[in-house]
Symmetry: C2
């Protein structure tokens, strides 16, 4: 018994959470929960239930992205609980606010990178089958690859999806999609929150897209922290992620083409990104038109103002753009998302592009999972 | 400007953290910080500095594993700061305690899985070179592989380290080490906190060990949450991780041997684990002696009581054990760690084993990084 006590003492103090284990009736545990946790949960109306142990706190809230912060109620044991209004099927980010401190919920895995947040995934109905693993569909791999980038003099990491057949077709070469995350995220976002590996496996398995390699790296798009004396909160905003441009061209693409069996010509290289990663995509592709021939813009921050000046003016030269870019996709969530104003700016320009509006979603990964699904069937055909 | 405001509103609310940016003099930022964060930091005495924004909290503490909780002090802006006593070089887990709520610090990446915790890495001196990436050393990959386990009827994930030469030696087959985490952790612990990929790259690069594949899966060792009416907090303790035993033999090993170019005989298969993963290693190997020939026990919870009964009694049959197991390693931290009592129980038994005591470390990943470094040079020779 003494050694068991040592083991318990050495482990995480989760006994703090082991009180008051009544579960709300007819609710399911979110797949985002860490193994020992039974919360957050959701019911058949897709209302989410939260539980937080904070015995001495005066106010505990749950801030779910896109809805009003929810005030939790405290019981006599210092456990705070609450229930939201119905949420859409899929993944929702949230944070706890404990006496004014914005922190992750220790009950779930964490998402994002700048300021880790928690997540709840509502998993009901067939809508999400395309991003869930399916029996009978061969699974690809996601490989973590470290490399030294000469342009920034640092060790970096890329995550590389290889299709299931890559392991056995040892002579075949594959086209490559470079897939970027958004502001304040990193190279893990597309697998952790986007479940891109399942989406790709399912599309390739159903022969809805060609087998391809997908590369995810950090776009270095961290919001600049204001320095003492800064009065402009947007200082440095325009330079977001500029370090990545050189990394990608000088270091990342050569490393990928050396390490993996890729097709290296422009006709077999695509780039896509979400939010600020959409802007990075447009800047990198239009500055390196000899290297890319497909563009995916998912809720992208193109912020088009003047087609003659934006992105070197190439969007004002439709013949050139259309002859070089085989497919240009702009997807977005509801009307409040980034995307519609850029689409309006492109109307009548002669630029060829395809649009997709994700029903019932916003500037979030539910939109971008759907965008990926809609975009990749159009590549390399 | 309006669109910039939309972007800021859509992104994480990190402006909350953008106040009071004076940094303590002569301190360095921890490599565990998320990109936008400048804390935690450490000075040349290896004292750690923390900063937490919690304007309405009444008490904020930092609980660093192994030391007394540190009370932070609040300034007029609601920002809490504090400084620890000197810490050993390497990784230290910690949590925030905000008015009694144990939560991760949103300033760092998270570690563990059951109750995510934060981390600070003190990176000074040459001691840690063996777990840092080195120029001129070829890098292997860590591959995330999904598979469906028939024994538990669920989708599972293995992380598989392949050595750098695996990509180019397309005919060569490799021995395999199965490497398990501890209680309340998962398959990501050895890469996230253990940096096993760097340790393996550096050892293989220096020809101190043979190139091998290393497989990491979840041992399913989650502390059982007590149910209403439970009076014994240890209920279910002995069954920890038992589901994994069948998964490993029935599903995981066959999947690995089918997917990767492995050597599949017992002479080329090893298993090691830390803490409860050490116990799982001993249970699985001794129950499947036809499949394994090497054992690594890192601060393992063998909890030996009676060699004639423990683990089927094989430790009381030294001739059989020594003829089957080519190398048996027991490593541990200080005298308070798990390990010494098992070593004492084995003395005079005739069982051959090697021991290693990690100086100045405890039941933590600093010990286990060193154990891995000491253990793998003895494999497959």
């Amino acid at each position: 018994m003494k050694k068991l006590l040592i083991l318990l003492a050495l482990a995480q103090p989760s006994l703090l959470l082991a009180q008051n284990n009544d579960l709300p009736e007819n609710t399911k545990r979110s797949s985002t929960c860490v193994p020992e946790s039974d919360f957050p949960r959701y019911d058949d109306q897709h209302c989410a239930y939260f539980k937080v142990t904070a015995p001495d706190a005066h106010k505990v809230q749950v801030a779910v992205a896109g809805i009003q912060p929810l005030d939790l109620q405290k019981d006599s044991l210092g456990v705070w609980t609450g229930k939201t209004t119905p949420l859409p099927v899929g993944l929702h980010y949230y944070s706890l606010v404990i006496d004014g401190a914005l922190v992750p919920d220790p009950s779930t895995y964490t998402y994002f990178t700048n300021h880790p947040v928690s997540g709840i995934e509502i998993e009901e109905g067939e809508e999400g089958n395309y991003y869930r693993p399916q029996l009978g569909i061969a699974k690809g791999q996601v490989r973590s690859v470290q490399y030294y980038a000469e342009s920034t003099k640092e060790w970096r990491r890329a995550l590389v999806y290889t299709p299931a057949e890559y392991e056995t077709n040892s002579k075949k070469r594959y086209p490559v999609l470079y897939l970027q995350h958004g502001m304040s995220e990193d190279e893990t976002s597309w697998t952790r929150a986007g479940l891109m590996h399942n989406i790709m496996d399912n599309l390739i398995g159903a022969k809805e897209c060609v087998p391809m390699i997908v590369v995810m790296e950090s776009g270095d798009i961290n919001r600049p922290v204001s320095k003492p004396g800064d009065t402009n909160p947007f200082a440095g905003f325009a330079d977001f992620g500029k370090t990545f441009y050189e990394v990608m061209i000088q270091d990342l693409i050569p490393m990928i083409d050396k390490t993996f069996r890729t097709k290296t010509d422009r006709d077999h290289r695509a780039m896509a990104g979400l939010s600020w990663g959409g802007r990075q995509t447009m800047e990198i592709v239009t500055s390196n038109i000899d290297k890319f021939s497909y563009i995916g813009d998912f809720s992208g921050a193109l912020l088009l103002q003047n087609l003659k000046e934006d992105f070197g003016g190439i969007l004002s030269r439709p013949d050139e753009f259309n002859s070089k870019i085989h497919y240009f996709f702009i997807g977005y969530g509801g009307a409040g998302d980034l995307g519609p104003s850029d689409i309006k700016a492109l109307e009548g320009s002669g630029i060829k592009f395809d649009t997709y509006e994700s029903p019932g979603t916003a500037h979030e990964f539910l939109t971008w999972r759907r965008c990926l699904r809609k975009f990749v069937p159009n590549l390399f055909k």
